[in-house]
Assembly symmetry: C2
DNA sequence: ATAATTATTTGACATATGTCAAACGGCGAC
DNA sequence: GTCGCCGTTTGACATATGTCAAATAATTAT
């Protein structure tokens, strides 16, 4: 999962003026460093934490027929969690792997639930995040449905120019739904 | 947009025991009949209503290079609205067309907002619907990313066996991200 | 019922992408 | 520095899907 929305950032910035809220949040949250290769969550486990990326990069993937299929990339200020697993308490369909040394703010879903109950602004932020995430997914779906592989690659690089430096091509190809070789050829042609 | 979740249905059933809530809802809602071919919402308009399908079928689509691209189908008990347009008050990226004579419950987004403020259960239902919708989109994305056209068609028919009778193949093909001819051949092979 | 329109199927061929194999290149371990 | 590993590129060929055109089949209007 991931979100990025100016309105949400503003809401949070304003909310954090409140000392009681700030204290409650920082009591629940915990900063942690992860190293390249670490797994934040493994396929099959239940997602009990929310990871806010303060710096670094993470990729979501699952295994299909013995192959890794990359479902998402998360960068600074994105939130890493399996929505399905966290909300339904079912085994996560995907794993999340740290792609480069990362600084992360960890909040347990349980504590997050209590924060949402106690401070309506957190509930509001959660709802707005869901809306933003769903809209983002709709866009990605449309792109996957009717853009060519080259168009999808160009869109991705336009949105995340750094991605080519941070992530190896095989993962990008998988994310785009094409093979490594096809991506390599797309890049060669320019 | 669409949702379908047992938990949400149960929540609503329970909530409607409350007479005050029931009255408030039915004051806001309005039953309407639409005919095949009617547009519930047109691309470019702002989505100011939510349409709950009591019976019938609706398809979402947008124009790309002069061609219609089908983005979604909605059937009984699905909710029809453009999430992006309704939440951000921006022009809708898609139109919604009635595929067969339909009975619909219409609620203006404004009145819905007031219901959400007044009755927390509506707010809860909205949030749960967003979660369910996002999870549904994630699944559809994975399917589009890594299933063959035939697998996607089989999944669709398994989930909505009626669809082949209700919706013409060109729309189904578009929804699957393939051409009409390819779908026709997939069906022929069995 | 008949004609007109629209939806679907089929065929021939073009294009995009996948698969397998080999070669190339950078980078760290020693 | 050299070796070996890993990621990437390139080539040859296979397969899936798209495009255009024509033929049927189904639906609608008259």
């Amino acid at each position: 999962m991931k979100y990025q929305e100016a309105i949400i950032e503003d809401l949070l910035t304003a909310a954090f003026q409140d000392e009681a809220l700030r204290d409650a949040y920082y009591e629940a949250a915990q900063e942690k460093r992860f190293k390249k290769g670490d797994l934040l969550l493994e396929q099959g486990q239940i997602c009990r934490h929310s990871y806010i990326l303060l710096s670094g990069a993470v990729r979501g993937f699952y295994l299909k027929d013995g192959r890794e299929v990359t479902t998402s990339f998360c960068f600074t200020s994105d939130v890493v969690l399996s929505l399905e697993s966290a909300t339904r308490l079912t085994p996560s369909p995907e794993s999340f792997e740290v792609l480069e040394d990362s600084l992360v703010e960890v909040v347990s879903m349980e504590k997050m639930a209590r924060l949402r109950e106690r401070f309506p602004v957190f509930e509001k932020v959660w709802t707005l995040s869901m809306e933003a995430y769903a809209i983002w997914l709709e866009e990605r779906l449309a792109s996957l449905q009717f853009a060519t592989a080259k168009e999808r690659y160009d869109q991705l690089v336009e949105r995340y120019p750094e991605i080519v430096r941070q992530v190896q091509l095989s993962h990008i190809a998988s994310y785009l739904g094409i093979t490594l070789e096809t991506l390599s050829r797309i890049r060669a042609k320019g």
